[in-house]
């Protein structure tokens, strides 16, 4: 293959094609990245100066005051704690459930295999909908609890199937030899399968963690009035909704009102950055795993 941006000695039509490729790729990259850099710059800029506008990707009057302002609110610290806590518990429990189910489904000799597999697959196509689910949570007395963040979505059929197709690629002989050494099925899962499944687990861990970190609707629906249980995304949602043009009459409380009355713009952008940073740090490292996982999942399903 010829390296170099544009290969030499090629016909004009191919060169034109190359130019189109690079122009489009460049525009796409700028369009994707610019908003984030812009938000970052505004969050690091003096809030009264920001109002003048014209800030692109560099702050004009650098300051960390916006970040100091938001961390002075107890609501944000609580939100951060709850978000971290739900991300950790949700990810661990989700990994356990998905990997255990995936392991049992990968065992051709398992006599409950077909039933469990169908039972799971159906959930990808049928769901009760918003209101029946809401009433179920209410009837289970899970409203206003931390458990509502983790338990209802514990098992995800998609995750199970992604991990299973990965386990299917591991030679069965490994399990058989472990059996000869006297290992039971649980030991095989724990000592043989889990260590070999690390790439798939990393992918699923990323999906689970991002899902947990990003969700806000369950807080809105079940825990909106529980100040000690609100998540960071929910707080951000309130702040953003409170200042958009003629937003709905939101059930805003202390934090929102105070936030909105001080400097909306820069502070809003600072919260946005705080909510985004953890993901920014994690996803590039796991990229090669999830690209593989996605591809596998797509081909098999």
């Amino acid at each position: 293959m010829k390296a170099g941006l544009i290969a030499k000695g090629t016909p004009w039509s191919d060169r034109a094609f190359d130019i189109v490729v690079y122009v489009v790729i460049t525009i796409a990259t700028i369009v994707t990245l610019y908003p984030f850099l812009n938000v970052l710059a505004i969050s690091l800029n003096d809030s009264t100066d920001s109002v003048r506008g014209g800030i692109t990707i560099f702050p004009r009057q650098f300051t960390l005051k916006n970040y100091e302002t938001i961390f002075a609110f107890s609501g944000l610290i609580t939100g951060l704690k709850i978000s971290i806590l739900r991300t950790i518990t949700g990810t661990i429990l989700g990994l356990i459930s998905a990997s255990m189910l995936a392991f049992t489904l990968s065992r051709v000799d398992f006599q409950g295999r077909k039933f469990v597999s169908t039972f799971l697959a159906l959930t990808m196509y049928v769901s009760g909908g918003l209101i029946p689910s809401y009433i179920l949570i209410k009837d289970l007395h899970m409203m206003g609890t931390f458990a509502v963040y983790v338990l209802p979505g514990l098992v995800s059929a998609f995750n199970v199937f992604v991990i299973r197709s990965f386990i299917d690629g591991i030679p069965y002989a490994l399990q058989e030899s472990a059996k000869l050494d006297g290992a039971n099925d649980f030991t095989i899962y724990w000592r043989v399968i889990l260590p070999l499944t690390k790439p798939a687990l990393a992918t699923i861990a990323l999906f689970l963690a991002v899902g947990q970190w990003n969700s806000w609707f369950d807080t809105y629906l079940y825990n909106g009035s529980q100040d000690h249980l609100t998540t960071l995304q929910y707080e951000l949602m309130k702040v953003i909704q409170s200042t958009t043009t003629n937003a709905d009459n939101f059930r805003g409380r202390n934090m929102v009102q105070v936030m909105a009355s001080i400097s909306p713009e820069s502070v809003k952008m600072a919260i946005t950055i705080i909510v985004t940073v953890p993901i920014l740090v994690v996803y590039p490292f796991l990229q090669r795993y999830f690209v593989k996982g996605m591809t596998l999942g797509a081909v098999k399903s």
Binding site: G53, S133, D185, T245, Q287
Partner: protein, 318 residues
């Protein structure tokens, strides 16, 4: 001889005990799966039981079995409600726009990205392109609102700077722009992510096809048209069928976060309608009727799409 007959009679006469025998042997496999099956039953199947609500005059204080049955009352109410048809129109408009943009743009992007020959550049662009997929819609909506805002929003500044418009447009307050804004936001957020599958499919095309085309003097564009696109055809079709199945259940997250009272007539989807008019007002039965309508139409769309594609292209998922 004797041993064989006894074994035979054992297995044929008592199949139940054979099941329990294997069950005991596989107790760990059962221990690792049945608790979660129970879990799925509670949180995914029990809500289906709640569908009965749509045919009852549901009072939260009583159990499902002690409600008054009202038949199709709530469905009739639903089909006589103008807001329902507005929500249906909005849902279909946004999902069709999303479907078209959500296929065409990632495919084009994947094909173009595949033509980038500098490995490092390709990887860099890809990594950047996934980024928006990983941020929440709350963050994305905040960013979109900021970019479109009338005071110093990047889009307005660019358009004014290029003299395409004279004064900033108030994007957030214009109902007729809402569908486009939602679609564009979705494209911004998901294009990179949706590209993964197509790039993988392209990578699976044999290099000898391109070699042969090159020998025959095909230009790069001709190679894309005659080799790359046909090579990912079945991937595209399968994804289209799956998407059509989800056509009507586009949810409400984007619409909830990007919308406001000014654009309500264009932002309310079926799910948002169920949220506002079902849950918000405590009309559980009515809201459930909306949920059921949603699910039924989804399934019909899925089977129809599958059937049509099966006839035309011999590809299907069911």
């Amino acid at each position: 001889m004797k041993a064989v007959t006894t074994m035979k009679s054992k297995t044929s006469a008592r199949p139940k005990s054979r099941f329990w025998h294997i069950f005991a042997q596989q107790k760990y496999l059962y221990l690792m799966s049945l608790p979660f099956v129970l879990w799925v039953f509670v949180f995914s199947y029990l809500p289906l039981w709640g569908w009965m609500m749509a045919f009852q005059k549901f009072k939260p204080a009583k159990s499902f079995l002690h409600q008054d049955w009202v038949g199709m009352k709530y469905f009739k109410e639903l089909f006589h409600d103008d807001q329902f048809f507005q929500a249906l129109r909005n849902t279909l408009a946004m999902s069709v726009m999303g479907l078209i943009a959500g296929f065409v743009i990632p495919i084009v992007f994947a094909v173009l990205l595949n033509e980038v020959r500098l490995g490092l550049l390709k990887r860099f662009v890809q990594t950047i392109s996934y980024l928006p997929h990983f941020v929440s819609w709350v963050v994305a909506a905040g960013i979109v609102t900021k970019m479109l805002s009338t005071d110093n929003g990047a889009v307005n500044e660019l358009l004014v700077g290029l003299h395409l418009i004279d004064a900033p447009i108030q994007f957030a307050g214009k109902g007729n722009l809402f569908w486009g804004i939602v679609t564009a936001s979705d494209v911004w957020k998901e294009t990179g992510w949706n590209t993964i599958i197509y790039l993988a499919a392209i990578a699976g095309i044999g290099p000898e096809l391109y070699e042969a085309a090159r020998v025959d003097g095909a230009s790069r564009l001709q190679q894309v048209w005659n080799i790359t696109l046909p090579g990912i055809r079945s991937t595209i079709i399968i994804l289209v069928i799956i998407s059509i199945g989800h056509l009507i259940s586009i949810g409400f997250e984007k619409q909830f976060l990007l919308g406001n009272n000014l654009v309500r007539d264009y932002s309310q989807t079926l799910d948002l309608y169920a949220l506002n008019y079902g849950l918000g007002m405590g009309r559980y039965s009515f809201g459930t009727a909306i949920n059921i309508f949603n699910s039924v139409v989804s399934v019909i769309l899925l089977f129809t799409a599958n059937g049509i594609f099966k006839k035309i292209t011999k590809e299907s998922i069911i």
